[in-house]
């Protein structure tokens, strides 16, 4: 255990000290001397953000359910806390036992966004764990990582001992059981890595070498060990009903992003938006049954005391019996005053009925994501939403009494012209016109339309993985074009920082050499890059110059279809051929319909959806 006297002193000085004390309801503190394997789970951002991540609650309860294992949490300390910890030489500790992270067997990171990578280094440093995998010794923990960004593990391959690709519910226990035996047999660090590399879905970077061409593209990836696979296939759970699902969630003392029960209703999404990584890597759709969901909801409400349930998935309105599910939940919890909400909405008139059901009193703002301003461009990205859809939905929504609408768009999408960009204004104005075209007695409140544009970042394992990103200047030009054209007080326009999106693109499609860039940026003081107020663009550029790394090579360059991509050795089940086909179709402005209406041949062998969704 760390010196708690020092901790006490520090806690009096920092903002929101409850971030560092643990002891929340449903947190689990085991006697660390009695368990066989100790796992420290880390979300590399501040507590308030990390605690809102559903995956944390799943893995935490899954591991702690096993008698021999303990899982404790560690987050990135906020900057004030870090300063005090460094001043007092207090090493990073887990919230439950206040034990040094260094004394755990594993430190596991969840990778949710690329701009959290400098925080990973900061956490390792505060924990006194060597930053580079090659420098770690037998007594150091295994530093591992999983989550969506692990589908391109290469940019942090120097820091992570091994990655877990795909859904973790089964594989994490396989790994910990393997380690338990290994520890009892007193094996060496390398022996364990050799063994773990043979588990499906596990990638150990040190057993592979990458050879480059003269033009800096990849020539070959060579396995260095006879037993390691050439291709790492993602792990996927077939049946979500029988899979482990938590019946408890830790309830933070402080307010976090989600102050409610988060109920995962299904995984996967088959709309096939061509920019969306989640839509590809989580395929196919697998639902939990209504019975199972009601059972879980009851237990979660009982164990947390929360008054709200949020139905979570990539696109909740797609749940095949959503209406029935919601009525069942409402019926069950009517007396308890428990509310139900949906976080992600699609433009579908069907949702209006559902919304009426669940938002009985409160008329909070609604969010829609048309993603592109023109129909042409929506076809390119395969966002199956028409202007008519939006108009119909918005009309009904206004009649129901809403007056605050948020519209999400992207700029810099492939093939985008200025006309498409200005389409964002056109669409926002149309929404405004609908409101005022309603008879006065039918509209309520003060209209507020907010159009937000993020800058398109091409992601691995999407049909746009080959596409070059717009330059920072081009993003600014397009954003200004829009900003200058929107002159209505009822319509607000804002856009994300193009500089941040540029770096996101560098890292998202980076190769192993990007590890050095991340390390250098961290050495220059970069951390919490995802927080605009802490993002230090100049430091990143400085680091690139010093290391002679060309960011444009990763972010702006359009790749040839036959180029070996840094993440090609990972098999997400969806085939590369399918992605190429989709890419080509996008350039021809052809759409691909949702595969619930018929299989589109995305390459998943033995897909459980086929036949089921007819």
């Amino acid at each position: 255990m760390i010196n708690t006297k020092i901790l006490d002193k520090i806690l009096n000085k920092v903002e929101k000290p409850a971030r560092y004390i643990g002891m929340e309801q449903n947190s689990i503190k085991k006697d660390l001397d009695k368990v066989k394997v100790k796992f420290a789970f880390s979300f590399p951002d501040v507590y308030d953000v990390g605690m809102s991540h559903l995956g944390l609650h799943i893995i935490y309860n899954l591991i702690n359910n096993e008698e021999d294992f303990a899982c404790e949490r560690v987050f990135a300390p906020w900057l004030d806390m870090e300063e005090e910890m460094r001043k007092e030489k207090l090493p990073l500790f887990t919230l439950e036992s206040k034990e040094e992270v260094k004394n755990f067997d594993f430190l596991g990171f969840t990778l949710q966004y690329e701009m959290s990578y400098t925080n990973i280094l900061n956490i390792l440093d505060l924990a006194n764990i060597p930053l580079l995998s090659k420098d770690r010794k037998d007594e150091d923990p295994f530093v591992i990582a999983g989550g969506p960004c692990a589908y391109n593990p290469e940019p942090i391959a120097d820091f992570i001992d091994f990655f877990v690709i795909g859904e973790g519910e089964e594989v994490i226990l396989e790994i910990l059981n393997l380690y338990k035996d290994h520890k009892e047999a007193k094996g060496s660090r390398d022996e364990f890595l050799e063994k773990v590399a043979t588990i499906d879905g596990v990638y150990v970077p040190k057993f592979y070498d990458v050879v480059y061409n003269d033009d800096n593209t990849i020539k070959e990836m060579i396995p260095l060990h006879p037993n390691v696979p050439k291709v790492i296939k993602k792990r996927m759970i077939r049946d979500l009903d029988s899979m482990f699902s938590p019946e408890k969630m830790i309830v933070p003392f402080i307010e976090t992003v989600h102050d409610r029960v988060v109920l995962e209703i299904f995984r996967g999404c088959t709309h096939g938006c061509r920019f969306c990584q989640a839509g590809m890597i989580y395929r196919p759709i697998r639902e939990k049954s209504i019975d199972r969901l009601v059972e879980l909801a009851e237990k979660l409400i009982e164990s947390t005391g929360y008054e709200n349930i949020s139905l979570s998935s990539l696109s909740s309105c797609d749940y095949s019996q959503l209406y029935l599910l919601i009525s069942e939940l409402m019926k069950k919890f009517e007396e308890k005053k428990v509310g139900v909400s949906l976080p992600s909405l699609r433009l579908d008139t069907f949702i209006i009925d559902v919304l009426k059901e669940i938002e009985k009193v409160r008329k909070t703002g609604l969010t829609f994501a048309p993603e592109a301003g023109s129909q042409r461009l929506r076809d390119v990205i395969n966002k199956g939403v028409t202007e008519e859809d939006l108009i119909n939905t918005v009309t009904k929504v206004f009649k129901e009494g809403w007056s605050t609408i948020k519209l999400y768009f992207m700029i810099g999408l492939p093939t985008e012209t200025d006309e498409d960009v200005l389409g964002i204004k056109e669409l926002s104005y149309k929404v405004k016109d609908i409101f005022f075209s309603l008879p006065k007695e039918e509209r309520q409140g003060n209209l507020k339309v907010t159009a937000s544009a993020s800058c398109f970042v091409p992601k691995p394992f999407t049909p746009f993985q080959w596409v070059g990103q717009d330059s920072i200047d081009e993003f600014y030009r397009k954003a200004r074009l829009l900003k200058d054209s929107i002159k209505d007080k009822k319509v607000t326009f804002n856009y994300h920082d193009p500089k941040l999106s540029y770096l996101e693109a560098v890292i998202a499609r980076g190769d192993r050499r990007v590890s050095k860039l991340i390390l250098r940026a961290w050495e220059k003081g970069c951390k919490y890059d995802g927080w605009s107020e802490h993002f230090k663009y100049d430091k990143w550029i400085e680091a690139m110059e010093e290391l002679d790394i060309d960011g444009d090579f990763y972010a702006l360059r359009t790749r040839e279809l036959d180029e070996i991509l840094p993440w090609d050795f990972i098999d997400p089940l969806v085939s590369k051929n399918y992605l190429i086909r989709e890419y080509k179709k996008s350039l021809e402005e052809q759409t691909t319909r949702d595969c619930r209406e018929g299989c589109r041949g995305c390459g998943i062998v033995d897909c459980i959806m086929r036949g089921e969704y007819k």
């Binding site: 000290p17 309801q25 003392f253």
Partner: protein, 230 residues
């Protein structure tokens, strides 16, 4: 009916803010199935209030809360609630009020046990002398900074009338004092400010971050009578 309860807040849970404590109780009422009453209106919320909110970082042996609920036996209430509350926040006792009288209107004094270290070791007599001489002063002023419409407004306050007494309890490795201070909506002296002033005026080099404070009692006042709210 209004149930008044006494509860504590110990160890690390002293870092839970007042607002977070309110949310903790709200969830705990749900979990324990307490028939609490809700306010009417657009956005109904459960009816309970805590008297004289504690500042962050201070422990307490006795905090008070009034809860509006359908009658249930006090023992059962305590048992059910303590089953769902964390072990460092527990209800100690409770009683239904005979007549309504809000906690905030009656609480006037708080007693604090304060532990700290000085630059040099001093014996009981010396510490007593320092404290007593200090309290002899005509006025003890501190400056409070308030933010109003983005502007900082400084205000000097004489805290002398807010100090009823200070008793030196012990001088071991730590010095322990008990202080009875004005607490509540009709004047409030935060013990942290008391320590700041004591340190400043007497040059004691106390590390204010290491001062440990615990509220050991809350008192109501009527006329010249001081009594416990329960």
């Amino acid at each position: 009916m209004i149930l008044r309860i006494k509860f504590n807040k110990k160890n690390y849970l002293r870092y839970i803010s007042h607002l977070d404590l309110m949310r903790l109780f709200q969830r705990s009422f749900n979990k324990a199935n307490i028939p609490i009453k809700y306010s009417e209106g657009f956005n109904p919320h459960p009816k309970f209030s805590i008297g004289a909110p504690l500042s962050l970082g201070i422990e307490s042996n006795e905090e008070y809360m009034d809860i509006d609920l359908e009658y249930m036996a006090v023992d059962e209430f305590i048992e059910r609630m303590n089953g769902v509350l964390p072990k460092d926040i527990q209800i100690i006792s409770g009683k239904y009020l005979e007549r309504e009288e809000s906690l905030n209107s009656i609480i006037a004094w708080g007693e604090y046990e304060i532990q700290f270290q000085m630059n040099t070791k001093r014996d009981m007599e010396e510490v007593n002398e320092i404290v007593n001489n200090w309290l002899q002063k005509e006025e003890i002023t501190i400056t409070k900074v308030r933010k109003k419409k983005g502007q900082k407004i400084e205000k000097a306050i004489n805290i002398k009338p807010f100090i009823k007494h200070i008793i030196v309890k012990g001088v071991g490795d730590n010095i322990t004092i008990n202080a009875l201070l004005r607490t509540g909506s009709n004047g409030n002296l935060n013990p942290v400010d008391l320590m700041f002033a004591l340190n400043r005026d007497n040059g004691l080099s106390i590390d204010l971050d290491e001062v440990r404070i615990k509220r050991i009692g809350l008192y109501a006042e009527k006329g010249d009578q001081i009594y416990k709210p329960l």
